[in-house]
């Protein structure tokens, strides 16, 4: 255990090791650590941003959805209204048409009735005349019979 030149050699070795460490070991590792730290920080920031954007998008989607729902219900309401309108209109038209048809039919029936009446009247009067001729040929009281016929014809 004597102090000798080992001390100097040890100091020189120490200096060389420190120099090597300072030159080739410390800076690259610190750089890598700093770079990784930055990368992680960036990643976290990006994640935060993404989250924020997602929130915004969700909000927007919700809004859009609500607007669409509103619009849809508007459209449905409108359609309902329109449908009932159409139904009402159709009902009205049908009624008018029906009325018209009924009126037409009634008029026709009346016409037919009148025509039939007229025909009947003439036929009855012809029949009566024929009947009268036959009667007259046997016993003629033309005047009295003609009055009777007239009353009958009027009664028809």
């Amino acid at each position: 255990m004597n102090i000798n030149a080992t001390l100097i050699a040890q100091a020189i070795m120490f200096a060389l090791f420190v120099w090597f460490c300072m030159k080739f070991v410390w800076p690259p590792i610190m750089d890598a650590l700093a770079a990784r730290q930055k990368q992680i920080a960036d990643g976290l920031a990006a994640a935060d941003r993404g989250k924020h954007e997602l929130e915004l998008a969700a909000k927007k989607a919700n809004q859009e959805l609500n607007a669409a729902k509103e619009k849809a219900s508007d459209i449905i309401a409108q359609a309902d209204k329109r449908a009932s309108e159409i139904v009402e209109e159709a009902k009205g038209n049908a009624k008018v048409e029906g009325d018209r048809i009924i009126t037409g039919a009634k008029a026709e029936i009346e016409q037919e009735v009148n025509r039939a009446k007229e025909g009947l009247r003439q036929q009855v009067s012809a029949l009566a005349v024929a009947g009268a001729e036959k009667i007259l040929r046997k016993e003629i009281d033309a005047k009295a019979h003609a009055d009777m016929l007239k009353t009958i014809a009027n009664e028809l």
Binding site: M1, N2, I3, N4, A5, T6, L7, I8, A9, Q10, A11, M13, F14, A15, F17, V18, F20, C21, M22, F24, V25, W26, P28, I29, M30, D31, A32, L33, A35, R36, Q39
Partner: protein, 287 residues
């Protein structure tokens, strides 16, 4: 374990002697006894200390350099992860204690911590493993495995730190500022000699305490390993007593080794932290 032919005292002395070599009459000669080593004077080298220091230092730099080459922003692999963990630990220590700006301090702290830790770790190698291997080559050759049990190694480190402290003190404060710091406090300008004496002692005590703390702890630890190893020395004679001693040796060296894991880390950490603190003080301008 000591072989039968040598006494306990010789065994201990053998383990505490460095392999001291010097150039004598043109060729490299290594001392075969403590007295011979002493005779060689200052211009001799403790080859074992230097070789072990160099090997541990190279191991440290090899792994850290490889990690530095591989370090990227991606997911770190095992080695890189470990190295980054150590480096972040050192970086936090430096940030916590060092307020100035100096790119030297952090790598210096890392080198001190990792290197001293590896050097101290040699203390956990069973003390006779390497000794017996060396003895196969030359039975008279000494080989002290732990450089930090050699005051040359610890003083080599602490004096380097001391030089840095003085250098940065003068660089940051100027020669006048450095002198003022030593001479004008704590008692004011008129007590300059007393101040100079007090501050001088405290300045010089820095490297001494730094190296002797490390040396003392490791030397004492090594000594206890040697004493524990001696216990089983009588193992060869198969008696109840010797078997008990052998068992105690195993248990005690295991316990002491486990405790020593704490000590070697603590000593490396203390050396590093104090270096940072001393350099921080050197960078601070008080007035």
């Amino acid at each position: 374990m000591a072989s039968e032919s040598i006494t306990s005292s010789e065994y201990i002395k053998h383990h505490l002697q460095n392999l001291t070599c010097t150039l004598q009459e043109g060729h490299f000669h290594c001392a075969h006894s403590a007295a011979e080593a002493k005779e060689m004077g200052f211009w001799a080298l403790n080859v074992d200390t230097l070789v072990m220091s160099f090997l541990t230092g190279v191991i440290f730099l090899f792994f850290f350099y490889r990690a530095a080459r591989k370090a990227s922003t991606g997911v770190p692999s095992g080695l890189v992860n470990f190295v980054e963990w150590v480096i972040e630990f050192i970086d936090n220590s430096v940030r916590g204690s060092f307020t100035g700006r100096n790119p030297l301090v952090a790598p210096l702290a890392l080198t001190i911590f990792a290197w001293i830790w590896l050097i101290n770790l040699m203390d956990l190698v069973p003390i006779d493993f390497v000794g017996q291997l060396i003895a196969l080559y030359d039975p008279h050759m000494y080989w002290k495995l732990v450089p930090s049990t050699d005051p040359n190694a610890t003083f080599g480190l602490s004096l380097s730190v001391f030089v840095l402290v003085v250098y940065y003190s003068i660089k940051m404060k100027g020669p006048g500022g450095f002198f003022a710091e030593l001479a004008y406090q704590p008692f004011g300008k008129f007590a300059a000699p007393i101040n100079l004496f007090l501050e001088g002692v405290s300045l010089l005590s820095k490297p001494v305490s730094l190296s002797l703390r490390l040396f003392g702890n490791m030397y004492a630890g090594e000594m206890i390993f040697i004493l524990i190893a001696l216990m089983g020395g009588a193992w060869a004679t198969a008696s109840v007593g010797s078997v008990t001693l052998f068992g105690s040796q195993i248990l005690l060296s295991l316990g002491w080794a486990i405790f020593h894991i704490l000590i070697i880390t603590l000593q490396a950490f203390i050396f590093m932290t104090l270096t940072i603190v001393y350099l921080d003080m050197a960078h601070q301008e008080h007035h």
